[in-house]
Point group: C2
Chain length 328, copies 2
């Protein structure tokens, strides 16, 4: 059976969400719940970011979870060394490869990116850690630039490459094409996808990546992250539950609602109504034709069974929509 | 140039959202804003639902908007007559065609569905109104059943058929296939798509329908609707702005934020962070590498220009993420 790694980046991408800040105990609790659910990786910020981040990374590693802790680290020597000085299982390196990021972010040419990344990748491999290299803004990068960089980092020993849709511009079809192309060119390594939601397609793009050959998918709890965030864990789970249940057979789905609730409370949010599975109204039926049918058989208007998630359906029979003439 | 109709169903699907209820003046204001933005259709509930609905439909028609008011009506004679007794521009008929809905909702066979629908469609056409027929739960319907019904209602004179993903189970690829098949089989009529968000793909599915030949796309403000709702107007606009700007060339995009804000306030909600364009943080940049680049050129991390929507970007320079060692 094919296997799929889910990477949760709530503690890295998620903390880039405007207004997000977790205290140490909240970070640990989020990690424990993610571990209990069964995600493969938890991504944390670069330990060099601040003494407080360093301490959090150490504490997270000390939990000794099944879930592997990986640090999101720039291709800079001191950043890599700082991460290697902690017991993280691996390093997720990244470097912007699009013209936009090369011009306005770091100002480096493709050959310079390779010259920066290659020795660091070798260093991480020699240290016996997992290493992934991600081409930030992959979907606005020139294909030759992108593949030139990937050829070099794979040659240097990365175990996985990352294709992030950093600005949320990709369509499912574009994701499918680029992931497929990379999966054919690099059959020996893993492929990770990370999709932003600026145009509302983060979950669809993430599933398109899976179908095209990605073996690691990035999410955050509720989908929090820069700007409109990225794919949500609940959204991805809803997709997998319906279309690829075998890939989450070992997951404890009953913990999902407590995790989403915990993060929402930590951020002083309510779970947005559009989040699959865990939103307050996800299993609420209101229109007359809906409630009538659902009372006979919930499958009439439900494709996810709330009890598989430890949740209950709610039939809004008191509403004005369920009167004699109610229409749906 | 190809043309696209956007149908906003905030006042029908949206009011099926758990907890949603709009007062008459709110309904009128929502309609005025939708009209100012430039959507083609506003869908309203069946006037027979209640005296209050009837009054609202009359008041909405009396606004004399450019946007056409269409009523969402069951295939039942008195429902159709009640709608025809109001000045709505058209009727959106619907009937469940999946085994699930035929068994647990209305209990009618395919031939009975046709026998019910055909005379009503003829009646609406004779009355000189627009008529659409939608196969509720199209994506769980047997293809032969679905096409048998569509063949008959098209023969009877419908101007558009509707393909709703009623339970939010479809993938972009499935939507593409079914819409494409119908577009080839029925080149003479329009095709409408309506996508629920139970598995998080409503917007991607809606765009897939457009690309496969649909000429009318359903949305609601913020995406409110039964359970997790449907595609949001802002999400669809974000997609069209990037991939098909010519289709919304006549839209007044600067009104979008006030509409989303107005509906959120009417429902006592804040706009969820994951809504494209109008979410509070949609143009907020936080991580150090992001803010640094965006200060040089916003295109580094932005694919929608906030000023096209009358909005401003926010650069979170005060946050702990923008320190000297900040990493993104
Ligand atoms: O390292 C990655 O793959 C993702 C970085 C990131 O957050 C992004 O590009 O949006
Ligand atoms: O009439 C339609 O096309 C849509 C009805 C509806 O809300 C649905 O099937 O989800
Ligand atoms: Cu990101
Ligand atoms: Cu609907």
């Amino acid at each position: 059976m094919r296997s799929l790694a889910i990477l949760d980046s709530t503690l890295r991408e998620g903390e880039q969400f405007s207004g997000a800040f977790f205290h140490l105990e909240q970070r640990l609790q989020i990690a424990r719940l993610l571990d209990a659910i069964g995600v493969t990786y938890i991504e944390v910020p670069s330990p060099i970011a601040s003494p407080e981040t360093h301490e959090a990374v150490q504490a997270l590693c000390a939990l000794n979870l099944r879930t592997q802790i990986v640090a999101h680290v720039r291709c800079a020597e001191r950043d890599v060394e700082a991460a290697l000085a902690t017991p993280v299982a691996g390093l997720n390196l990244f470097y912007g490869t699009s013209t936009e990021l090369r011009s306005y972010s770091h100002g480096r040419r493709i050959d310079q990116i390779i010259a920066d990344a290659v020795p660091l990748i070798k260093r991480v491999r020699e240290a016996g850690r997992y290493v992934r290299f991600s081409a930030e803004d992959a979907f606005r990068s020139d294909l030759v630039d992108l593949l030139t960089v990937f050829d070099a980092v794979i040659e240097a020993g990365v175990q996985r490459i990352g294709l992030p849709d950093t600005v949320g511009i990709a369509t499912p079809r574009q994701v499918e094409r680029l992931v497929h192309l990379c999966a054919e060119r690099y059959p020996q390594i893993g492929i990770e996808f990370h999709g932003h939601n600026d145009t509302g397609c983060a979950i669809a793009n993430t599933v398109a990546a899976l179908e095209a050959g990605a073996d690691c998918l990035d999410v955050t709890v509720l989908g929090i992250g820069e700007r409109n965030g990225i794919a949500s864990l609940s959204g991805l789970i809803a997709q997998l539950y319906i279309h690829y249940p075998e890939l989450i057979a070992s997951y404890d789905l009953e913990k999902l609602a407590s995790l989403d609730q915990y993060v929402a409370e930590s951020l002083n949010l309510t779970i947005p109504f559009n989040i699959p599975i865990t939103a307050p109204g996800a299993f609420t039926h209101r229109a007359g034709v809906h409630t009538k049918a659902v009372l006979q058989n919930p499958r009439a208007y439900e494709v996810l069974n709330p009890s598989d998630f430890g949740l209950a359906r709610h039939i809004d029979v008191g509403s004005r929509f369920t009167g004699r003439y109610a229409v749906g």
